[in-house]
Amino acid sequence: MASMVANGNRDGRQGEALVLKGVDPETCMIVFKNHWAQVVKILEKHDPLRSNTSSNMAALGVIGLSSGGPMRFGGPIPGDEASAVQNYVEHMLFLLMEEDAGQAGAMGPILEFVVMENVMERLFLWSLRRQFTDDMKLEQLKMYEMIVGQARQPLLHHKPVLRPLMMLLSSCSGTAGPEVEAELVSLLNQLCCVLAKDQSVLELFFHTSEDQGAANFLIFSLLIPFIHREGLVGQQARDALLLIMSLSAENQRVAQHIAENTYFCPVLATGLSGLYSSLPTKLEVPGEEWHCLHREDWLQMPTLVQFLNSLEFCNAVIQVAHPSIRDQLVSYIYNGFLVPVLAPALHKLTLEEVMTTTAYLDLFVRSVSEPILLQTFLSFILLHRHENVHILDTLVSRINTPFQLGTVSLALFQTLIGLYCEDVMLQLILRYLIPCNHMMLSQRRVVKERDFYSVSAAKILALTPSCCSPEHSPPPLRQLDSILWSKGTDNSPNTGTMETEESFLEEDGSGYSCVIGSEIYLDVNYLHYLYNARLGISSCTRACQVWSAPYDGEDPPPEEGRQAQTTTDPAPTNQLELEWDDSYDAGPVVSPEAATAESSRPPQPPAAEPPKHIQEMRRTAIMLVKGSYIEESDFQDDVMVYDLVAKKDARDTVNSSEVIKGSKEVKAHVEDHNSNLQSPLATEVGDDLMDQYEELIRTLGSDEAGTGGSSPVKTVDKEFRNPVVTPMEEDEVDFSSFSVDTPELEKQHLSLFGTKLRSGSTKSHSVPFTGPFVSVLLSRLENMLDNSLHVNLLLTGILAQLAAYPQPLLQSFLLNTNMVFQPSVRSLYQVLASLKNQIEQQASTKKDFPELITSAQHCLLARESSLKGQDSRECSPPEAGRMMKSSPPPQPKTISLARTEVFATVLFTEFLKELAAIAQEHSILSHVPMEE
């Protein structure tokens, strides 16, 4: 029967409509009334109250024959009668749908009749009276979907239509099978569309009940359980919810209701936690080169797709919803997902797990676009402390891990730097530069100075290893496209105007002006670097217009920065204990036995110790390097336990709120109706109707009560109504731990783990320090010759990205080669110079170095062209080496990627050009007035 309606809805309608076109309204009305009279006959015959006495016998007679379903109201209804009703109803509905509204928006006669006779409600009761199976629900839902979607006049304004619809909706919640759920959500979606178009219906949907004092918004509550569903149902539910969200932005009442009376935000946020817990804790990494989750990666992981769908939904909600909902959701995401779930996950014990979490975090940050949600993630990364250590510091320290974790961490920072976010840059680098401690006092005025003559670029390019200089490039790579450089004054500096002019014109006649130096070739790919530098700097400069300060050595004033650095901010000192050291290759001081002993030891006072997870990780890292690493499966990790609990909780929460809310709403709804029956026609049917209805619901709800229980809701209440406040503790910093002797303690302790304290150990906060991030980046860059190609690509990419920032403090630190820094401060230029020396040394000891260089260049060019074919949408900035363009060379002998020093040399040369180009463009762009 349901299918008949559906068919009528989808396929049959066209024909029907054509048939009805010519028929006059009065005839339609007569037909409708006739049909209804027939229907009423059957209905009344089986009405338990009206027909009890008359048809009891007959009903009893039938009982024996029927196939024993539950019989509540006077016995089963014969099939032929049911289908007769169904046929009449179908016709009636078509007539109703096709009826036009009366004049001035008045009801058409059929609709008026439907309202007066309470047709819809009686039909609903009829279907209840029969076995209220899923099929029956489906039929009813489809019926409403059809008339709501296709009627030519507004139907929902009329309580006799709306009320049975609401009853139907509430009775469908919670218990139904997948088919009913799909239909339910589809109808809800349709209702939300109507709502979005016509807000006047909203009032009717709310059904304010004076006795309860609380507004009810059933269609919204019914959608909540489907938020995190996968597939079409989930998508439809989320779309529908979004419609309501944008409604909330304009309608205070809707916003208030959602924020105060529903579990929408907590369900959404805990859902993230639940979905997160079902993500793989270890990723199957495709190769060593892999460092971030690209689209094609996560599309292969259904659980991740589902998580991202929900995250995207949060993003969308935050975008459109009323600020009160937005703020609530953001707060739940922070306190219900980031802090309790993601933070522990970032501190798991194995490298693989931590790496996986880091890659997830990177993906999440890249997926979020709404500034407020992004801010939530960023403030978690920048300010949250897990076990008293800033997440940021932990992440920075991991850059130096020799494994994939290091690369994945680098990729995360590439994402962060690419956001052009002042807060990120402030925490990562700028706050260390603001005090101007890193430079000689006399150099402060140099910060804003402009490099008129590309002196820095020239100095950077002068570091080009002799084996890679343009003059020495082998023929296929050599840039044959020479640039013409016109020199109008070349000929005759001392001759008069006319002569100069003549000679100029003469040259012009030959087509082009003169070439500068015959044998000097211009490096054409340098033009590409200039072009890219220009694009990068312009977009960065434009983005940074929203920043609060220029960071030019004067604003913010250096004094303030110093204060900020030394008092309110513990990170510089904290960092000392965190910073990874590349001395892992010096061999572990702790034997595996000692290490195991250590782990079983009771927890130590944290005062002088690096946090446990850092110790653990360092230990496993050391073991891994030494080849003695065995995956320890029995790590007693309370994080893991927590996750399991969270997972379970999340599931329970979702399920239970679905069930409990459902039945609660229904009840409220029914009560609401009791006090609300006003229609004179409806009242007489009303009483018995509501009694029947209530009884029905009671029986339907009885099995729910068993499974649901009420405690999960209480849990939700406890956790989310009054979210556990996680203080930032910014002002609870123990200043004594930053005193001069603390590093000594650390030194003792850290030496246990075979770490030599490099940059940090002897430094108190007054000693110039450009921050852990810069220090880690430079120390990785220093090892460029040993790094694999992809690590170097990431590293140089990040440094180039940083160099493109227009802030004079950053620019002068990274690019100004004339700047005199404090002796203890390592500059980018120093590292580059030392790399050049290393390269020259290698080149002089290896005879085949030039050949190898050529092979590596060809190999990189080939890689370049193969990358171009791929979809690289998610790769943010252009990497160095990307731009090595030239005529496709004949493939020479291949070279193993293991020759890292060779690839590094080629990359180094390209990186110099990239940096020089950025320096040159800065000298122009940073000084052009912004109007164009």
């Binding site: 707060s331 306190n335 992004l374 801010q375 939530t376 403030s379 920048l382 052009y420 976010c421 002042e422 807060d423 990120v424 402030l426 925490q427 008129f452 003559y453 590309s454 670029a457 020239a458 390019l461 343009p470 044959l480 020479s482 640039i483 013409l484 016109s486 020199k487 109008g488 004054t489 070349d490 500096p493 105007t497 002019e501 012009d508 500068i516 130096g517 015959s518 000097i520 070739y521 211009l522 490096d523 033009l527 072009y531 220009r534 983005a543 940074c544 217009q545 929203v546 920043w547 609060s548 913010p556 303030e560 900020a564 309110t568 203080p727 930032m728 122009i924 000084h927 052009v928 007035p929």
Partner: protein
């Protein structure tokens, strides 16, 4: 009338600015003209002795192949400085063919040379900034003690006896070129006749100046002397062309808010101005 000129120049200057700053963009088709097609493999390159500057750079260990880039960017930097200075009555734009040659025009708004409109060309030595000071040559030799009556060259060197990098900039030369018309100096003149007249018979000097100004202005609408797309050329007022542009100039006001609205600002900041703490802005939603 001067508005018309200013307007016209402004339009073309903006364009020149854009063009110039886009100079290194390989995507621009116009750039193609600056680039020779690939030299055929066995072709002998045009032989010209390498410039001394380039050789010197080679000796320094700097790669000479980047020399032109340094030079160009130095000149670009100079040009952006000129724009910044907003020198009254002076307009310049680099030529299309060489960044070492700039076209200019100067409007004298009061004093002896009032109403004078003098076109000139700036020649910058190719070893800039380490060479001599740039030269300024007027298209038509103006009657002036410091302007060579034959070549039209202004005596710039007296003001910049030694060109010092970082201290001397091209805008100063332009500024100087303007000043000489307001403050007459007759010491060691290039045009002794003008110098003597100024000292001995100002009235005659004045009338000679008036004649010179008239002569210059009468050639204003001549074709530019150099055949260069960016040469400054004047045309008479044509309402069909100029009215609309004038209208736009007068209605165009810089409104930074509007400007920013148009651009998609992608940067982020939650730092309160005056603070160095992240997320210090008041309107941050609560995290806990």
């Amino acid at each position: 009338w001067e508005i018309h000129l200013d307007l016209m120049l402004n339009c073309s200057l903006t364009r020149a600015n854009g063009e110039l700053l886009n100079f290194s963009s390989p995507a621009r088709p116009s750039f193609g003209k600056k680039q020779l097609p690939s030299i055929p493999k066995n072709a002998v390159p045009v032989t010209k002795p390498a410039s001394p500057a380039a050789t010197a750079q080679l000796a320094n260990g700097t790669h000479a192949s980047y020399g032109p880039f340094y030079l160009e960017y130095s000149l670009l930097a100079e040009f952006t400085l000129v724009i910044k200075q907003k020198l009254p009555g002076i307009y310049v734009q680099p030529s299309y063919k060489s960044a070492l040659m700039w076209f200019g025009v100067i409007f004298i708004r009061h004093g002896l040379y009032q109403d004078g409109v003098f076109k000139f060309t700036v020649y910058i030595p190719d070893n800039y900034p380490d060479g001599e000071c740039p030269r300024v040559v007027f298209d038509i030799p103006v009657f002036h003690p410091l302007v060579d009556p034959v070549s039209g060259e202004l005596d710039v060197r007296r003001a910049f006896t030694k060109w010092r990098r970082n201290h001397n900039h091209i805008w100063q030369v332009l500024m100087y070129a303007r000043t000489v018309f307001y403050k007459i100096n007759t010491m060691e003149p290039l045009n002794p006749e003008a110098a003597v007249l100024y000292d001995k018979d100002v009235q005659l000097f004045k009338s000679k100046v008036v004649d010179s100004v008239k002569l210059c202005n009468s050639h204003l609408f001549d074709q530019p002397k150099m055949d260069d797309p960016y040469a400054i050329s004047f045309s008479s007022w044509n309402p069909a062309i100029h009215d609309e542009a004038k209208e736009r100039m007068f209605t165009h006001k810089r409104r930074p808010e509007d400007h920013q609205k148009g651009l998609q600002v992608s940067g982020l900041s939650w730092v309160k101005p005056g603070s160095t703490q992240p997320f210090s802005k008041d309107d941050n939603p609560p995290q806990s």
